[in-house]
């Protein structure tokens, strides 16, 4: 029995499952002082009743985690096991007492028989029928002897001691002994002795009461030790587990301590270990979620910052486009002009200008300028503004009309603006490549001067390229600059002229993954030579994109195509 009480885990561990089968465990226990209604016990932990959705409802575990409802378990175990144990103990003891009682009865019977035999032997003397008095009286010394009769051979009572008892035969032991006939004056007879069994019965009753008491003590001891063991190894660990669950529910990642004096039973230890593993998993999942959320916030901030920058760039592009010639200026003149202007990053360092200008003679001149400032994006765009302002002053204030003179003036202005004097080595080393065409329709000529930028001429003979001076405008002087010079070419009737920045020909791509180059551009131009100018330019743009394929563009690109308008 003690083995049972001290090893509750194997027996009691399945008990928490029982409430699911029926409500009997909950209902079985009477209310005790301090008990919550048993219905709030284990079965009330919302695992099955409300369906999975509510399983982790906030606060659902808190009531159960307070622990007092767990008293129901020990209580229920006691109520279930105690009657069984009590009945078993009682039955065992009653059987033992019954056997004991029977033995006592038998022993008393044997003793009574011996006493009767001894008395009968003592009486067996001549003339005993008259002298039996002292022997019979001697029997009365035994307090359990109630009644004795002495009969002769004919069965006639010749002497008696005490009253013949009445009542149940169970409470008395009756024995008899024959008195043998002797040689002379010694007739046969018999002695009947009746003893009381009341003492034995009283003894058995006392034993029964003692057994009852012992059983009660045993059951009490069992209950106490069961309660202690369950409380220590089952209820306390479960309470810790439930408390931890409640905290985990609020995203407080605690684990359960598996050591200590209140060490859980093996099954609960395994559940607790599984719970700890789950908490670790949840914690790392939660951390990952936090990191993801942080990443999303960062991404949102970056997107916002990028949005601001792009918005600002969009505005800058409107300003930069306003500095470039409008559609009317491109279409209104005596030249057919088509333009491709595509900065790499919304705004860029490429600039072009097209203007009909008074040449001082009978007819006007057409000035066409393409400039490629160092850098692209915002820094390039700053430089284009310097160039635009400088060009306006050179053309209108200074009235320069020769392209090489215009380039030289631009060179001076840019170098002055960026303070690129000799000896000022810490400052800017920026500048631009530039090509300028001045078309005199009346004379049928085109003057070209370039600094790092070439003029491409497409005619029936193919594509020709007139390179400019090797060095750009601006930059710190290296002492190796070529002098600027202009060339004059006839305008012709079938000629188309192109001023383009190196972004047009520097297109990385193709199967061999290298730059398209001037030759590649020339081939594309030749393929579309017979198309209207705008379509030629659009076709070139598409062909460049096809050459790039997946490669990104490397630079801003600008192309100004022009030819005399047909009559």
């Amino acid at each position: 029995m003690s083995g049972e009480t001290l090893s509750p885990p194997p027996d009691v561990a399945p008990a928490p499952v029982q409430p699911r089968r029926s409500g009997s465990l909950r209902g079985a226990g009477p209310m005790r002082r301090g008990d919550a209604p048993a219905g709030l016990g284990f079965a009330e932990v919302p695992t099955t009743q409300d369906g999975g959705a509510d399983t982790m409802r906030p606060g659902a575990l808190r009531g159960a985690a307070r622990g007092r409802n767990l008293d129901g378990l020990a209580h229920t175990l006691f109520l279930r096991l105690a009657p069984v144990i009590a009945v078993l103990v009682l039955l065992t003891q009653v059987v033992i007492a019954w056997v004991n009682y029977g033995d006592q009865i038998r022993l008393s019977g044997e003793r009574a028989q011996m006493m009767a035999d001894m008395t009968a032997r003592a009486l067996a003397q001549p003339g005993w029928t008259t002298s039996f008095g002292p022997q019979l009286q001697a029997l009365g010394l035994d307090p359990s002897v109630r009644f004795a009769t002495l009969r002769d051979a004919s069965g006639t009572v010749i002497g008696r001691l005490g009253e013949e008892p009445r009542g149940r035969s169970l409470e008395r032991i009756q024995v008899s002994s024959e008195i043998e006939a002797g040689p002379e004056a010694q007739p046969a007879g018999s002695l009947t002795l009746v003893l009381s069994a009341e003492g034995l019965r009283a003894h058995a009753e006392k034993q029964f009461v003692m057994v009852l008491g012992a059983s009660a003590v045993l059951i009490l001891a069992f209950a106490l030790s069961l309660r202690l063991a369950v409380a220590r190894h089952v209820l306390a660990p479960l309470t810790r587990l439930l408390t931890a669950m409640g905290r985990v529910e609020r995203k407080d990642w605690v684990t359960v301590d598996l050591a200590g004096s209140r060490r859980p039973s093996r099954e609960i230890a395994e559940i607790s270990a599984a719970f700890n593993r789950m908490v670790e998993g949840l914690r790392s999942g939660d951390e990952a979620r936090h990191l993801l959320a942080e990443l999303e916030r960062t991404h949102a901030r970056l997107a916002e910052a990028n949005g601001l920058v792009m918005e600002s760039l969009g505005y800058a592009r409107r300003i930069q486009q306003a500095v470039l010639p409008g559609q009317a200026a491109l279409e209104g003149g005596p030249l057919d002009v088509a333009v491709l202007w595509e900065p790499l990053h919304v705004v860029g360092g490429d600039y072009f200008w097209v203007e009909e200008i008074d040449g001082g003679g009978t007819a006007g001149l057409s000035v066409l300028v393409v400039a490629d400032c160092t850098g692209h994006g915002v820094p390039g765009a700053f430089l284009t503004l310097i160039v635009a302002t400088a060009l306006d002053r050179i053309l209108h204030d200074q009235g320069l009309r020769r392209p090489d003179a215009i380039l030289a003036a631009l060179d001076g202005v840019v170098r002055a603006r960026l303070r690129q004097h000799a000896g000022n080595s810490d400052l800017s080393d920026d500048g631009l490549d530039c090509g300028i065409c001045v078309v005199d329709r009346a004379a049928g000529t085109l003057d070209f001067a370039g600094a790092g930028l070439a003029l491409t001429v497409l005619s029936g003979d193919g594509v020709a390229r007139i390179k400019g001076r090797r060095h750009g405008l601006g930059y710190r002087l290296t002492g190796r600059e070529e002098t600027l010079s202009a060339v004059t070419v006839p305008l012709g009737d079938d000629r188309t002229f192109f001023l383009m920045t190196d972004g047009i020909s520097d297109q990385m791509g193709g199967t061999s993954r290298r730059l398209l180059g001037h030759r590649g551009v020339a081939e594309i131009l030749e393929r579309h030579a017979n198309q209207p100018l705008a379509e030629q330019v659009a076709a070139l743009d598409a062909a460049l994109a096809a050459h790039r394929g997946a490669e990104a563009r490397r630079d801003d690109m600008t192309l100004v195509a022009f030819r005399p308008k047909g009559d």
Binding site: D372, T374, G375, G377, D429, G431, D433, G452, R470, G472, Y475, T478, R480, D502, S505, D506, M508, S512, R513, R514, L515, L516, G517, H518, R519, R554, D555
Partner: protein
């Protein structure tokens, strides 16, 4: 002078300036957002190396694309080399270009025109 080794990125070339061995390499593409910031330290180191003096110097340039800022920076690297060659140092610049890449070949020829003392070799690389 310490060796300078910088791995290539999508926008900047591989740099291996082994001054002790007298061998400098630039390989890849060059269009950094700020070319001055990328090439400034290289130019500074090159000048330091040339001031120390030493033996023959070979500079392999194998760029498949470079923007105008990088072209300017290359020019700045070439000028002290040409000056050193003028002072008697054996300097060789090997300009590598892919077969059929006129743009790079032409750029090499343009650079070559600036050298009169240093050797400037055009090296055509055939596609593997």
């Amino acid at each position: 002078m310490d060796r300078i080794q910088i791995p290539a990125t999508s926008r900047s070339p591989l740099v291996d300036f082994d001054f002790a061995a007298g061998h400098l390499i630039l390989r890849g593409e060059s269009y950094p957002e700020d070319a001055a910031a990328f090439y400034g330290p290289l130019l500074h180191a090159l000048r330091g190396c040339l001031e120390e003096g030493g033996g023959a110097l070979t500079f392999d340039v194998a760029l498949s694309y470079f923007n105008s800022s990088s072209a300017k920076a290359l020019m700045n690297l070439f000028m002290p080399l040409e000056d050193a060659a003028e002072e008697g140092r054996a300097v060789t610049i090997r300009w590598h270009y892919a077969e059929g890449d006129d743009t790079i070949a032409e750029a090499g020829e343009d650079f070559a025109a600036d050298f009169s003392h240093a050797r400037f070799e055009m090296v055509q690389e055939t596609a593997a």
